[in-house]
């Protein structure tokens, strides 16, 4: 029995022992077909999924190569049934192919007439087809390309899309690497995307996803539509692009609630795209307004449903998705993959941290007690108010104040979900509060004051969850959140992960009400980060307040 670093489990998970001499080699070998699921300190877990195996096929790896890798690195024998399963799954890919036909336009062909027959009989997708040309070929309505691919994926017969991309209107864009350089992983990510055609790049917050986008634009050299979560993020993108690419102010347009500019590079918000006017999405025309060569989806895990549907219609354009956490609490990861494209690049957070591109962070869970009165209130509250009742306990305000004072002199963000709680916190701490109601202008100026160090502490709502660049923030205190959302937890940690000028580490406090549903949600929220190798320390609020715990400072 060979002493390999990999253990293949019968439930299709792969365990990789990372202290093994062959671990690195093995990780590179399995990365093309296995999804990294967890990467804590000793053993990383990968999973074999149909999607992953098909993506590997699409990237040119065949079943024999995959099986060979598993056998080579596996410590124990690999169940034969699993190998058979891999071979069968991978064999399903490419039986159907989408091609561009000189006469008929988009066609679906198959070398296996039986498969085509099976697919044509599926009720859901029958309307997407035009006339049958011969037993192995059928015409597909071009507008259905995305939807068809999605449906075929669900049927278990993923189509190989050979129909190609339109180049879009060319536009010169290049990176201007004056006082900075594109990092190795950013370069690899951009190239990985370009070779794959379309796809998703997963990088931790603060690792410079914007620059991956810019690098991709420089490769495409075409007009680009960038979709971002909100106006503040749009402006940040704009500033970054102006600073680090050859683009000038005249070439970048903003398409948001306030401005409606369409320029060779246009940055639009998800919100404006999903705004309805008279029952129709008024701004979806933006996609057609220009012969875009590239569409970038920032924070693709937040992609709203209408944009989803629209993406299905623009399958012939190159699409790049950027995200730190491809976990959707609605379980639509699969849709993202089939519409934007497969995951092209992914690195564990801890690896980027080791390279020094994101700050090391300590995560601390502080358990606070409800007062007796609050406990009684909690017990009697309606299920839908339960979380709010315990998450907004007054004890949290007390503890947050204490911690903020402890870290006087450092830049502190207090993050919460409930506006009244945030208002009380702002009042208690004597600092400004930013919520969705704060005008964009005020928001920007407050963030700028914070960046400049004039304001040391900010209380923010979920508007600051994403895409807000606050380089010098080192302390985050989370008092409440969107229930058990794993990606929100990760995004919030991401706010303080920009490397600090003095190399200081960051600290992420999360205040949790003991013995309540808050504690359960916290556990779920932390899962993504612990699986990325972060370790939470749990301490009692009473110990902090009484001074028994000096918070390590």
């Amino acid at each position: 029995m060979s002493e390999g670093p990999l253990i293949v489990q019968s439930d299709k998970t792969l365990l990789l022992e990372i202290d093994h001499v062959l671990a690195d080699e093995c990780r590179k070998a399995i990365a093309p077909f296995a999804e990294l699921e967890r990467s804590p300190e000793h053993i990383h877990t990968y999973r074999l999924t149909n999607l992953g195996l098909w993506n590997a096929r699409a990237a040119g790896h065949d079943a024999e190569a995959v099986i060979d890798i598993l056998l080579r690195y596996s410590r124990y024998s690999v169940p034969h049934t699993l190998l058979v399963d891999i071979a069968e799954t991978m064999d399903r890919y490419g039986r159907l192919r989408l091609e561009a036909h000189p006469v008929h336009g988009l066609i679906l062909t198959s070398t296996d007439a039986a498969v085509l027959e099976e697919v044509l009989r599926a009720k859901k997708i029958a309307p997407m087809f035009g006339p049958r040309i011969d037993p192995e070929t059928v015409v597909v309505f071009a507008s259905e390309r995305g939807r068809l691919k999605q449906s075929l994926l669900r049927l278990g017969w993923p189509a190989e899309d050979m129909a190609g991309y339109v180049d879009g209107e060319a536009h010169p864009i290049s990176l201007v690497e004056k006082d900075w350089k594109l990092r190795t992983y950013q370069k690899m990510a951009a190239e990985g995307f370009w070779h794959g055609g379309s796809g998703v790049i997963v990088l931790p917050c603060g690792a410079g996803k914007t620059m991956v986008g810019a690098a991709a634009m420089a490769l495409a050299k075409a007009t680009t539509l960038i979709l971002v979560t909100n106006t503040v993020a749009a402006r940040q993108w704009r500033n970054e692009l102006l600073l680090k690419t050859s683009l000038t102010e005249d070439e970048i347009g903003e398409y948001s609630g306030t401005k409606k500019e369409i320029k060779p590079v246009t940055i639009a918000t998800y919100q404006v795209l999903t705004t309805k006017k008279g029952g129709v999405y008024a701004h979806l025309d933006l996609f057609d307004s220009h012969d875009w060569g590239l569409i970038i989806y920032d924070e693709v895990h937040l992609l709203p449903a209408p944009v989803f549907r629209f993406t299905a219609d623009i399958q012939s354009r190159r699409r790049l998705g950027l995200t730190a956490t491809l976990v959707r609490e609605d379980g639509m990861e699969g849709e993202v993959f089939s519409l934007i494209g497969p995951k092209r690049y992914d690195v564990p957070w801890k690896e980027i941290e080791a390279q020094g591109y994101i700050a090391p962070a300590e995560c601390i869970e502080v358990r606070v007690n409800l007062t007796d009165a609050e406990r009684l209130l909690y017990a009697t509250s309606e299920p839908e108010h339960r979380y709010r009742t315990c998450a907004t306990t007054l004890t949290k305000t007390k503890v947050a104040k204490f911690i903020a004072e402890k870290h006087q002199g450092e830049q502190v963000l207090v993050i919460g979900q409930y506006l009244d709680q945030l208002a009380i916190l702002g009042e208690t701490l004597g600092v400004p509060v930013i919520t969705g109601d704060t005008p964009i202008k005020d928001r920007e100026s407050l963030f700028q004051l914070f960046r400049d160090g004039e304001v040391k502490t900010l209380v923010v709502s979920k508007v600051a969850n994403f895409s807000i660049d606050l380089p010098e923030a080192t302390i985050a205190i989370q008092v409440s959140g969107a229930f058990g959302s794993r990606q929100e937890e990760a995004q919030r940690l991401g706010r303080i992960l920009r490397p600090k000028s003095d190399g200081r580490g960051a600290r992420f406090y999360t205040l949790v009400a003991r013995d309540t549903i808050d504690q359960d949600f916290a556990q779920n929220r932390q899962r993504f980060l612990t699986e990325q190798g972060y370790s939470y320390q749990i301490i009692d609020a009473d110990d902090i307040l009484s001074g028994d715990n000096k918070l390590g400072s």
Binding site: M1, I7, V8, Q9, S10, D11, T13, L15, E17, R38, P40, E41, H42, I43, T45, S74, R75, Y76, S77, V78, P79, H80, T81, L82, L83, E365, D372, R375, L376, Y378, A379, T380, D515, T516, I517, R527, T530, E531, G533, Y534, S535, Y536, Q537, I538
Partner: protein, 709 residues
């Protein structure tokens, strides 16, 4: 020889050689013997039946081929045909079983035939066509009216090339048919079996794959039993379990439905699970014993169950017309074990090659054309799939463990091939612990008490949670003990959140107590907890009443009260009448009914040597007895019980030898030659000449008695 080849003749043991001879030529036994022949041997037998007498070795070779000789010898040793000077004669029972028109040849014409054959070349064209049509059978043709035949038919009838059977049917006589077939009987001789050799592997490749399959198999069976102990599936009224139960369990285990059906059947066959009180399926105590034996023993039990069973799990759900249910009564096929053994024998013969499956299934059909008709391909395919699942084969070829178990060895060598046991785990910050190999059983059991298993295979992944730690505490562990245990077996330091979790649950455990009984009380020194429980709407249905500041009362029983509290997020512990905490032992559900594995329908095993020797001795004794009994009356006059008793008393006194008519437990009456010794409580003790031993005969079963003169 004969007994070894025809095992059915041994049960029950014939009394002497002449009884053996008559049994061997009886149709049921003949039919069994024919079942064991291959297609080529059947062809020779058909030829023997078809050829007109007298048949000699030469004539049979002429009609078939040179290698017929070997087959004839085998048929003789099976007592299916016998040599008579230079002729070969065939038992009548075989004629009956082959039928009147062997290989589509008509009735024997006899003396007229040679004259008729000479006429064939003169036949007009139309008549030739008719002959051609009838040559390869069936030999009968219809005519509209025999009285007014067409020209061709009339010519053929006139020349004895056709015979009239009735007013509408004519038949081609056998001699003519054979002549037209060029002196042969079969169009194609099946004397060359198909080669089924496929891809070749090294033994280590094969074994590696087999070990993986074996580990999965044993693990999945264990999981299935545990799953069913928790949620026993209901038994359908028609027997077996329904589609939904199969789907549910397959989803639960994350396996394919066919695989699930297979391991469910195996568990049932081996008695690991049984039908409890005729309503649901539950694991048995055999399962617990099985679980505590070594991997090798566990595997061997399962494999032996599979080798002998007549149940064919592949049939489940196969028929579209009617659902055949798993563990149901309809999946026995008498030929299954026989064909399965044949399959394995064929695979073993080409080791270390894997078979080509379609060629192999043809070969199976060739080897046993009369067994499991219509099932050959299915059984070959299913056996191949199942042998792979069982690790008897790996990548299609026979594994070294498989060949050991087929050779009847006690040690299959599996223990050496299994990965070494380990005694440590790695605990990680995400509250998981990983045993990177098979964990020592005692450690695994202890660990699964305080953590939930998340993934199994070569390694095991455990996850700690508040609930899992609490389970440990409920089972009498203290948080200190848990900490010590983990520190001892973990190669890595325990992450702070985990030690916090253990300490935290430990601190709270037992604070809130529920008293035992039909009604329960809930007490906690922390009054605010008591108030919170009382105020919580999720506990409303307990109809709690506060009987003291720290005590609540409910009329609901303890188990229900505890469950409700857990669901509402509290941490109750059960308190005994003495006020001490009651540890809740995890007791898995087990069947109360006696284990009744399904019976095996099927073949007589090939008798072992000891049995054969014993049988021979008995036969010889029987012969001696019949030689002695020159004066034995052929039938024994029937006697009333009182006459019997009187005769026995006299014979015991005068030490005489008697012949008795004795009804055995099958209801058949046999004659026994005995020396009576004594009669006690209605049972005769006597020396039996036939069996050469002292036996007991209930007097009520003796229906006749006479003196041997």
């Amino acid at each position: 020889m004969l007994l070894a080849a025809r095992g059915d003749l041994l049960s029950p043991l014939p009394t002497d050689i002449s009884a053996l001879a008559s049994r061997a030529s009886a149709p049921p036994s003949i039919s069994r013997a024919l079942d064991s022949l291959n297609l080529w041997e059947i062809q020779i037998l058909e030829a023997l039946v078809a050829l007109p007498e007298p048949i000699t070795i030469e004539s049979i070779i002429a009609a078939t081929s040179e290698d017929a000789k070997l087959v004839i010898e085998k048929l003789i040793s099976l007592a299916l045909v016998f040599p008579d000077e230079d002729q070969i004669r065939v038992l009548k029972a075989i004629h009956d079983s082959v039928g009147n028109e062997p290989t589509g040849l008509g009735p024997v014409l006899g003396l007229l035939s040679s004259k008729a054959i000479k006429k064939i070349s003169d036949a007009p064209k139309n008549a030739q066509t008719v002959l051609e049509r009838l040559t390869w059978g069936p030999p009968r043709g219809s005519v509209s009216d025999i009285k007014k035949p067409g020209v061709a038919i009339k010519w053929l009838l006139d020349n004895d090339l056709l015979l009239a059977v009735n007013s509408k049917t004519v038949v081609l006589p056998r001699e003519i048919g054979i002549h037209l077939r060029g002196g042969k009987i079969h169009r194609e001789l099946q004397n060359k079996p198909t080669d089924y050799r496929g891809r070749e592997f090294t033994q280590s490749e094969i074994d590696k794959s087999a070990v993986g399959a074996i580990i999965t198999l044993l693990h999945q069976i264990e999981e299935l039993m545990k799953l069913w102990a928790g949620e026993p599936p209901a038994i359908l009224r028609s027997g077996g379990i329904g589609v939904r139960e199969v789907k549910k369990a397959a989803d639960g285990l994350g396996v394919d439905e066919n695989y699930l059906i297979f391991i469910a059947e195996l568990s049932y066959i081996c008695g690991l699970v049984t039908v409890d009180r005729e309503e649901e399926l539950l694991p048995t105590s055999t399962f617990d014993l099985w679980l505590n034996s070594t991997h090798d023993e566990r595997w061997q039990l399962i494999v032996n169950g599979w080798l002998t069973t007549s149940r064919v799990s592949g049939l489940v759900g196969k028929s579209e017309a009617r659902y055949i249910s798993a563990l149901g009564p309809e999946i026995d096929r008498a030929a299954a074990a026989n064909l399965r053994a044949l399959f394995l024998k064929l695979v073993a013969e080409i080791s270390p090659c894997a078979p080509d499956l379609s060629a192999l299934s043809q070969r199976v059909r060739w080897e046993r054309p009369r067994r499991g008709v219509g099932l050959h391909t299915d059984i070959a395919n299913w056996s191949s799939r199942e042998a792979e699942w069982l690790g008897i084969t790996g990548r299609g070829a026979i594994s070294s463990f498989g060949s050991a178990i087929l050779a009847g060895k006690d040690d299959s060598g599996l223990s050496k091939a299994l990965p070494k046991e380990i005694d440590h785990i790695l605990i990680q910050a995400d509250n998981t612990a990983i045993a990177p190999g098979p964990l020592r059983l005692d450690l695994a059991q202890e660990l699964s008490l305080i953590a939930n298993v998340e993934s199994k295979g070569g390694a095991t992944v455990y996850r700690f949670s508040e609930n899992s730690i609490r389970r440990g505490l409920d089972n009498g562990r203290s948080s200190d003990e848990i900490n010590k245990f983990l520190t001892k077996i973990s190669k890595t330091s325990i992450p702070q959140p985990l030690s916090y979790l253990i300490a935290d649950v430990g601190k709270r455990h037992g604070k809130l107590r529920v008293g035992i009984g039909w009604s329960s009380y809930i007490r906690c020194e922390d009054e605010s907890v008591v108030n919170a429980i009382l105020a919580d709407r999720r506990t409303a249905h307990l109809q709690l009443r506060k009987i003291a500041p720290q005590v609540l009362f409910t009329e609901i029983d303890t188990a229900e009260a505890v469950n409700t509290l857990i669901e509402a997020g509290f941490l109750p512990a059960i308190e005994g009448r003495d006020g001490a905490l009651v540890t809740r032992k995890r007791s898995a559900a087990r069947a109360i009914s006696k284990t009744r594995p399904p019976r095996v329908i099927g073949d007589y095993e090939i008798p072992r040597d000891e049995l054969l020797t014993a049988a021979l001795r008995a036969l010889r004794a029987g012969d001696r007895a019949s030689a002695k009994r020159s004066g034995v009356p052929t039938t024994v006059a029937s006697a009333t019980p009182s006459e019997t008793m009187a005769a026995l008393t006299v014979a015991i006194k005068s030490k005489e030898t008697l012949v008795i008519g004795y009804a055995d437990s099958d209801g058949g009456v046999s004659q026994r030659i005995i020396d009576p010794i004594q009669v006690m409580a209605g049972v005769l003790v006597a020396y039996d000449h036939g069996n050469d031993e002292v036996l007991r005969f209930p007097v009520s079963r003796i229906n006749g008695i006479a003196l041997v003169e």
